[in-house]
Symmetry: C2
Subunit: 303 residues, 2 copies
C-alpha cells in the first residue's frame, strides 16, 4: 500500500483561494487588480491560489487570457508552486494546451474538470479522457487535482472513477476538489489512500481536516481569508477550541450563499477595496442588485 499524500509530496496544506477575476466596464480583464488581489490573498495567509475555478469565472475567460494571466501571476512574484490553475475545458486539445503551459510554468498542479458538454457519459470514457490528457501532456511534473462540481458542470466524477484514476496514476492524480457540498461524498474520497481531498466549502473544513484533508478551496476566501486561515490553525491545534471561529466563518458562508455567490463576492470585494470595477461580471452572470448588496454587506462587513 502506498503512503498517504503527506506534506513532502503535496505541500498545499491550508486554505486555497479560487481568486476572482476583475473586468473593466468594457468587459476586458483588469490585470493590475487581478495581481493586487492575488498578492493580498497570499499576504492574508492563503497557502495557495486556484486561478480559473468556477468562482474565477473561468468559463467566461478565453484561453489566451488564461495563459497571459497565469504568466503575469508568476512574473509578479507569486511562487508557481503555490498555484493550482483550472485547465479543464470540454476538448482534449485545449485542455492539453493549458495543462502543458501551467506545468511548464512550474505550477503545483492543475485543477481539471471532466469534459462537461456531453452528458450521461460513462466512467470508462471519463477514465479514457484523463488518461489521454496525462499521456499527451507527457510531463513527470504534472499533478492533477480532479474537479468534482456536478451541480454546475452537469458531469461528475464517481468515487470508483476517482479511485481508479488515482490507482492508475498514483503520483500524477494527486487530489480532488469536492464541490458537491456532500459530506458523505467527501468522506468516501478521504478513504482513498494517498489522495489529497479538498472540500469546496469551509462548512466541511473541521471534519475534513480531522479526517486527513490538507485543507479546503473555498470561494469565500476572496473576502474572508484571515478568518479562514485562523480557523485552520485552531482546528489543527484543538478542534474544540475552534468552535467560535467556525461559527463566524459559517455565518459569512451562509450569508454569501443566499445570493448568486460570484456577484456577491465581487460586490463585497468592491466595497472592501473601494474599487467599483470589482462588481463587474461577464455575461451570463449578472451583478447583484443594489438592495441585495447593501443587505449582504451590512451583514458580512458590518459596514
Amino acid at each position: 500500500m502506498q503512503a498517504p499524500r503527506d506534506e513532502a509530496t503535496w505541500p498545499l496544506r491550508g486554505v486555497l483561494a479560487p481568486n476572482l477575476t476583475p473586468f473593466g466596464d468594457d468587459g476586458h480583464i483588469v490585470e493590475a487588480l487581478y495581481i493586487e488581489h492575488a498578492e493580498r490573498l497570499i499576504e492574508e495567509g492563503c497557502v495557495g491560489l486556484v486561478p480559473f475555478g468556477t468562482t474565477g469565472e473561468a468559463a467566461s475567460v478565453g484561453l489566451d487570457e488564461r495563459i497571459r494571466l497565469l504568466e503575469r501571476l508568476v512574473e509578479s512574484g507569486i511562487p508557481a508552486s503555490r498555484l493550482l490553475p483550472g485547465t479543464g475545458l470540454t476538448s482534449l486539445p485545449d485542455t492539453v494546451r493549458l495543462t502543458r503551459h501551467a506545468t511548464a510554468l512550474g505550477c503545483a498542479g492543475v485543477l481539471v474538470l471532466p469534459p462537461f458538454y456531453y452528458k450521461a457519459v460513462s466512467d470508462d470514457a471519463l477514465f479514457a479522457y484523463f488518461a489521454r490528457l496525462i499521456d499527451e501532456v507527457d510531463d513527470s511534473a504534472l499533478r492533477v487535482v480532479l474537479y468534482h462540481i456536478p451541480q454546475v458542470a452537469g458531469v461528475g466524477l464517481s468515487i470508483p472513477l476517482v479511485r481508479r484514476l488515482h490507482e492508475a496514476f498514483p503520483e500524477t492524480v494527486a487530489g480532488i476538489k469536492d464541490s458537491s457540498g456532500d459530506w458523505a461524498n467527501t468522506s468516501a474520497l478521504l478513504a482513498i489512500e494517498g489522495l489529497a481531498v479538498y472540500p469546496g466549502t469551509e462548512l466541511l473544513l473541521p471534519r475534513a481536516l480531522a479526517a486527513g484533508s490538507p485543507g479546503c478551496i473555498t470561494a469565500t476566501a476572496n473576502v474572508n481569508a484571515p478568518a479562514l486561515n485562523q480557523l485552520v490553525r485552531l482546528v489543527r491545534e484543538n478542534l474544540e477550541a475552534s468552535r467560535d471561529a467556525f461559527e463566524s466563518v459559517r455565518r459569512v458562508r451562509l450569508a454569501v450563499q443566499e445570493h448568486p455567490s460570484i456577484p456577491a463576492l465581487k460586490a463585497l470585494l468592491a466595497r472592501r477595496t473601494g474599487e467599483a470595477r470589482w462588481r463587474n461580471v461577464r455575461p451570463p452572470l449578472e451583478t447583484l442588485v443594489e438592495s441585495q448588496e447593501a443587505a449582504l454587506a451590512e451583514y458580512v462587513l458590518q459596514t
Copy 2:
C-alpha cells in the same frame, strides 16, 4: 412589420448536415476524410453543412483545429456560403474569435450555443451575452443562428429571449436551430416573423416546412442524405404524396436514436465507406459495441 426571412435574405433552404468529424487511431483529426465526407454530403444534395455541431463532436475539437478545418473546407472548393459552422463556446473571447474567423471566411452564418457552463442564468444575461458577441464581432456580414439544445447544453433559449434577440438584431439574428424535438417549441418559434427556424430532427420536417421553415439540420443526414433531400422535394410538391418517403426516413431516425447517436452514425459511415477510422470518437464518447453496430447496420443499411 418586417418581411419574412425569405430566399433572398436566407438562402439555406433544405437539408443541412451537421457533418461528423473523423479521428485517426491516435485521436488526431483525419483531414482527408473530413473533406471527402463534406463533398459527398453536398453531392448528395445537402444545401449546406454545419461543421462543429453537437454531432460533429464540436465540444471535443480544439479551437485551432476548428479554424484549420473550416479553412480546409473552403480551400477544397465548398462555397463558404453553404457553411454554417458552430462557434459557440462558454467564453465570449473564444466565441468572438471563432465567429470573426467564420464570418471573415464568408460563411453563410454561425450556429451559436448559449454559454453553457453556468446554469440557471437569466434571459437578460443571455441577451447581454449575444448582444456583446454581435457588438464585438462588429461585422455587418455576421448572421447568427441560435442553437437551442437544452438537454445537452444544460442551458436553453426561451421563446421570449429568441424573440427579443431577433427584434433587437433583425438582420443579424437570422435563425435558430431547435434541437428540443418538441413541436410546441418549434411552432412557437415559427410564429416569430422573419426568423429561419430549423428543427433538429426530420421527424418534424413535414410540419415545419408547411409552417414556413426553410428546412432542417439533422444528424442522420450524415448517412441518409439522399432520402432526406428527396423528402424535402416531395413535401414541397405535395405533402400527402410524401408520406412513404417520410415513413422511410423516420424508420432510420428511430433506429439511430436507439443508440448513442454519434457513435451510431460513425459506425454506419464506417460500414458504408469501408473506412474503419470513422468508428473512432474522442472521449468522453465511446464507440458502439460490435453487436449494437451489427444490429443497427442490418436494419439501416440492409447489409
